[in-house]
Amino acid sequence: MKQRICLLKFEPITVMAFVCMICVLYVSPSVAQEVRITESVSIFRFSKGGNAVEIQRNQNTENRLTSDFAKTSRACPPFCIQPANVAPNVETVAELEVLNFLQSEVSNSTGLIVDARLPEWFLGGSIPGAINLPFTSLDSTNTYLPDILTALGAKNTDDGWDFSNAFSLLIYGNGPWSDQSRRATLSLLSVGYPGEKLHHYRGGIQGWAQLGLTIAPTTPAN
């Protein structure tokens, strides 16, 4: 009996330790990646110019958009609902295709993700790895358009532009309510950019943000 009391004296500590252990075991799964991109992918990694870039989803399951992207009713015009397809030969893609494009094209330097919004918006955050090519700069009125096309890998020949070595472009804008990515795509098509090299992410930065995917703050060039 005396020994039993002795055992009981230690029991509170034992019980507390046990409860604590249960708590830890209960909490630990939520520390792991709970919100995955797909069933098999939790964090998407790719390298761009030697820099590793990570894309994942916001892990807070209670997170809600409270920013501009939560707006439902922007005035139309000018913010009108855009069609799914820009042109017959331009592929319209969604988030997983964007990730695939990053993996297969951007990390191999054969493709570029193009943010067609104005620079101020681009600076506010973009899809990781994107470059800013404002739709206005692709307008035919821009006298420097040839410079941009050359930088995109096109060659100006006697017979016109040769796009055989040009980058594949995945173009996005603000979202389905904004025509910026569509205008950029149409401008590129009008100067002869082959539609097969163009992809259109209609969801845009809003679709991206809606899924809690990583938005890169734009870092300046060093």
């Binding site: 009981l8 620079p119 600076l123 410079d147 941009i148 930088a151 980058f167």
Partner: protein, 278 residues
């Protein structure tokens, strides 16, 4: 045994009461306690500059400093924007050049509308109703707007080329089309040669927007170099827009303040930045 049960019961009671009584978070609180300047937090929570700005009330003092530019920096939207400012009485005395024009016009006309040409392709007009009773109108000259747009386009192209070069890690040979040098040369060649050069018009436009101090500051080499005390909500881009009229000069500001800024995101309210002449 009883002591054990009591301890356990007490522990559970405290735990449960803590769980139940913990302060509940409203769904909006995530954005409410966002730090105004904290880029690492921006990464973590995927918050963009827009929503940080949206949820940060603009102190009136900031508006009074430079209404047009502040509003421009805060609304880099792609459409026409209209801003109604009702505190006429308080604003009028603090307005610099452009606003003096406004008040002059106020006396002359009772029923006109102020339209300031903004420096952006898409932001064409900002209708500022200084007073609900007395709307004013400064009609922008079409030529000024056109020239500004051209300059904007060049700046934008330059930014695009730099962005592509940076992304691809390769740039065209210097001087060939597609290179920055080529673009710069073409830019200088296409500058109008008449006295009213586009640069002058550009500065003039800025002067109209922001008042004389900034325009004087923009002319390189005149006057003492300027300092600026960082306000909550500022970014290098907004400061750059405020003083140079263009966000691209944030790198210049960063370079001039590299002693106190480890990175462009390292901006804290209360810091005093040196603003170099261009």
């Amino acid at each position: 045994m009883i002591r054990t049960l009591l301890t356990l019961a007490g522990f559970l009671l405290v735990t449960i009461s803590l769980l139940l009584l913990q302060p509940s978070r409203s769904p909006d609180s995530y954005t409410v306690d966002l730090p105004a300047i904290s880029p690492p937090a921006l990464t973590a929570t995927a918050i963009t500059r827009e929503n940080v700005d949206l949820f940060r009330p603009v102190p009136r003092s900031e508006i009074l400093v430079d209404p047009a530019i502040e509003l421009f920096a805060r609304n880099p939207s792609e459409t026409i924007m209209q801003t109604r400012i009702t505190e006429t009485a308080e604003m009028a005395p603090t307005l610099s050049n452009s606003k003096i024009e406004i008040s002059d016009l106020t006396q002359n006309s009772n029923d006109t509308t102020v339209t300031l040409a903004m420096r952006s392709d898409e932001i064409m007009d900002m209708t500022t109703l200084i007073s609900p009773q007395i709307p004013i109108d400064i009609a922008p000259r079409a030529t000024v707007r056109k020239k500004t747009t051209d300059i904007e386009m060049r700046e934008m192209t330059w930014g695009v080329l730099r962005s592509i070069d940076q992304a691809t890690g390769k740039s065209a040979s210097p001087g060939t089309p597609g290179s920055l040098l080529h673009t710069i040369i073409r830019r200088s060649l296409s500058e109008p040669t008449d006295p009213a050069s586009s640069q002058a018009i550009y500065l003039q436009t800025l002067a109209t927007e922001a008042g004389a101090p900034r325009a004087a500051f923009l002319k390189s080499g005149t006057g003492p170099s300027q300092t600026y005390r960082v306000q909550p909500g500022d970014t290098l881009q907004t400061i750059s827009i405020k003083f140079y009229g263009d966000s691209t000069f944030f790198e210049t500001i960063f370079a001039a303040n590299s002693d106190q800024l480890k990175s462009p995101n390292d901006l804290r309210a209360g810091q005093t930045l040196n603003l170099p002449h261009l």
